[in-house]
């Protein structure tokens, strides 16, 4: 199962579910409540985010953590994340990507009970009370995550540093119930990558070391680059990097480790992207849609599915992005429902 190094906000592109289930005028009376909940969470995010950005000391005191520099930095970074979330939710109240960014983390618990808000007895001040209760936990959680990262001695940087870095670094790992040899040869044929890497449109292999990659970019555009294999230890390690004049500089390394007890392979992937536009490009990519950690994590989950089961798992109502390699043409998505008068 895929794990990720650190968690932060997800962009609006992620986890969009096919909206067709409740398209158009067939919204239930849950709709108004949904939106109320969205807004409440949106404002809560903004409130918390602002507080953390502007008054990290007060927030730190409130949740009982030392008001030192590193905590202040962390709280500010956390505030940015909250702000991004909050703005996202309010800007697009029906776009569940942002909602899930909010909810997907520590607020899942709140959301569970949030269903009560759909009912008429919903009381906004209760939302606030519970939200406040969760806020401390959320912040603590981030702090713990950061601490653990530091204890591991890995130079991944703090949330703040990550946000301001010129590069986007991604490290993910997944356990696959297949032998390293099998996974290596699947990966080594780069033409297979678009089967599970959702942002890749295609990879053309030119020779044993060189290949040409075409990836999707925001706003329906594509970016392309040539890449070359820089290291190739069969069944163990494979590295590649983009060549000069790439639209997006990037490099990658994948290691294939035999899992203990003959339980398949532990796959470790590291990738680095340097988006055009330097620091601002990197921030932009994070705030507006691309969430590389999540993306690669989902990619590896799909790789596991393809290698273990022979197909990418899909469900009609799934919020996961479906993949072009899938035989799931848009017209096969369930359209909106009609009143039940005619039979099949």
């Amino acid at each position: 199962m895929a794990t990720q190094e650190a968690r932060h906000a997800r962009g609006p592109d992620r986890r969009q579910q096919p909206r067709s289930w409740d398209d158009g005028g067939h919204r239930g009376n849950g709709q108004a409540g949904d939106e109320r909940l969205s807004r409440a969470l949106g404002w809560f995010s903004i409130g918390l985010g602002l507080a953390e950005l502007t008054a990290p000391n007060a927030v730190a005191r409130l949740i009982g953590i030392p008001e030192d520099d590193s905590n202040r930095r962390m709280l500010r970074a956390f505030g940015m994340r909250e702000l991004a979330n909050g703005v996202g939710i309010l800007a697009q109240p029906r776009e569940s990507g942002w909602m899930w960014a909010r909810v997907g983390g520590d607020l899942m618990d709140l959301a569970f009970l949030g269903n009560n808000l759909r009912s008429d007895e919903a009381q906004p001040n209760r939302i606030a009370a519970a939200a406040a209760a969760v806020a401390g936990v959320t912040a603590l959680d981030v702090l713990c995550g950061q601490r653990m990262g530091q204890d591991g001695g890995e130079a991944q940087g703090t949330g703040a540093n990550r946000l301001w870095s010129r590069h986007i670094d991604v490290r993910q790992t997944v356990a696959i119930n297949r032998k390293p040899e099998e996974i290596y040869s699947f990966w080594r044929d780069f033409r297979n990558l678009p089967q599970f890497m959702s942002h890749l449109e295609r990879v053309d292999v030119q020779d044993d070391r060189r290949s040409h990659w075409v990836a999707k970019a925001p706003a329906g555009r594509t970016v392309e680059w040539d890449a070359e294999v820089t290291e190739d230890q069969p069944n163990q390690r494979l590295c590649w990097r983009s060549l000069e004049r790439a639209d997006v500089d990037n490099s990658g390394e994948v290691r294939f480790e035999r899992a203990p007890g003959d339980r398949g392979t532990i796959l470790r992937v590291e990738m680095r992207y340097t988006p055009p536009g330097g620091i601002f490009g990197a921030i932009g990519a994070k705030l507006f849609g691309e969430e590389p950690q999540m993306q690669v994590r989902d990619d590896l989950r799909r790789l596991k599915q393809v290698l273990e089961t022979g197909e990418v798992t899909v469900a009609e109502g799934s919020m996961a992005i479906t993949h072009p390699a899938q035989a799931w043409a848009p017209h096969t998505q369930p359209a909106h429902t009609q009143p039940a008068d005619s039979g099949r």
Binding site: M1, R15, Q17, W21, D22, H26, R27, G28, N29, G30, Q31, G33, W100, G104, M108, D109, L110, A111, F112, L113, G114, N115, N116, R118, S119, R126, I127, A129, A130, A175, N177, R263, M294, R297, K304, Q305, E308, T309, G310, E311, T313, V314, A315, E316, G317, S318, M319, A320, Q326, A327, W328, T332, P334, H336, T337, Q338, P339, A340, D341, R344
Partner: protein, 389 residues
């Protein structure tokens, strides 16, 4: 096709929706001939799952006839009659290979969401929210069944629907609940909740060698079935102090194993009940755990706490001290249906188990919203509803 869709708390609607299609090569499509409402569906009905979206098709206890197969399906063919296990399992991940089908590593396309809540994702389930995959459910005329060679169980034609329908969920669930108790000859087992799962747990506990089984509930008609059909002793928790009564019945030692077959909506009387309801309303706790706490406190030292009842999030006042200091074992999980259904089908064929006794209501799929209400409110002595599309 017609399907029963969730629209919000206590708002189910039967609507016309597009027919399911084969999406992957290992899928099949089943024309549903019988489908049931589960106690787990009531948790959705009562709005305890935030990952439901208006229009989601519910239902996970269904059977029918295979009408279409994907090109990689090998064991099933058009015309086969099958029951469909409620967990969706790939059959090739480490969990599936270890017979832990309900925690398949591949079948939840929304695994990331579940990982946030639970650390790891279990299997996708039919009709059980986007957290568990967003798969349309089986209270419908047709359903798409992924990994068709792994889940569906072929049913011989001499058995009728009602005899085998519960192989999809509650019969294996009751059985696994009892199996988890590691029953030794002479054991006493107490079961909280005498709904369908509780009834089958009682039955299975006897099958697996228990000497005494005690069923606990507050609805007299449910206790009566536990007593008369399943041969349990019974305890009405509205009239008795359950802990005290159990100690009295077991000479102060406590039952050797306890089964919580009521789950996160367990109902509490007095202070404990008020405490959980208040916390739930304040959104400081997701699940009420009255029965679970009681079961833990009652089981004998070194005993087993088996939890088929469904929990979703967090509970408060969990008596971990009792669990630790008294060497208790907790076993739980969504049922690994595929692990049990062959064996239970054989027992049904041999006439050792006849699960039809729990059916109290037979209705048309159209009547699903009404059926939910009757089942939820325990009207009309409702125990189990079977719907016919």
């Amino acid at each position: 096709m017609k399907a029963n869709c969730w629209y919000g708390k206590k708002d189910m609607r039967v609507e016309n929706v597009p027919d399911p299609k084969i999406l992957n090569a290992h899928d099949c499509i089943v024309r549903i001939t019988s489908t049931a409402i589960c106690g787990s569906d009531l948790h959705l009905y009562n709005g305890f799952n935030p990952a439901m979206q208006p229009g989601d098709i519910v239902g996970h206890e269904f059977m029918g006839e295979v009408v279409e197969v994907g090109k990689s399906v090998q064991k099933l063919k058009v015309g086969d009659r099958v029951t469909v296990p409620f967990p969706i399992s790939c059959g090739s991940c480490l969990s599936c290979q270890r017979n832990l089908f309900s925690v398949c590593e591949n079948s939840n396309p929304n695994a990331a969401m579940a990982e946030e809540l639970w650390g790891h994702s279990p299997a996708g389930l039919f009709g059980y929210s986007h957290l568990l995959g967003g798969y349309p459910g089986g209270q419908a005329e047709y359903a798409r069944v992924p990994y068709a060679d792994v889940g569906p169980l072929k049913i011989p034609s001499e058995l009728d629907d009602e005899q085998v329908l519960f192989l999809t969920d509650i019969l294996p669930t009751g059985y696994m609940a009892a199996e988890q108790c590691d029953i030794q000859r002479g054991d006493t087992v107490a079961v909280w909740g005498c709904g369908p799962v509780g009834q089958f747990a009682i039955l299975s506990a006897f099958l697996l060698g228990a000497e005494r089984v005690i069923g606990i509930d507050r609805f007299e008609y449910r206790l009566r079935m536990a007593r008369e059909t399943c041969k349990a002793e019974t305890l009405n928790y509205a009239e008795n102090d359950v802990h005290h009564a159990l100690m009295e019945m077991t000479g102060g030692r406590g039952p050797d194993a306890v089964i919580d077959a009521s789950g996160m909506e367990s109902h509490g009387l007095g202070l404990a009940g008020a405490y959980d309801r208040a916390k739930q309303a304040m959104m400081l706790e997701t699940d009420r755990a009255v029965a679970l706490r009681q079961a833990i406190m009652a089981v004998r030292n070194g005993g087993v706490v088996s939890v088929p009842g469904v929990y979703a999030g967090f509970i408060d006042k969990f008596p971990m001290g009792s669990v630790m200091n008294r060497s208790l074992t907790i076993k739980t999980g969504q049922t690994h249906v595929q692990r049990y259904h062959h064996h239970l089908l054989e027992r049904i064929q041999k006439g050792e188990i006849d699960p039809t006794f729990i059916i109290t209501h037979r209705l048309r799929l159209d009547e699903a919203p009404h059926a939910y209400q009757v089942f939820n409110d325990k009207q009309d002595e409702c125990m189990k509803v079977v719907l016919k599309p």
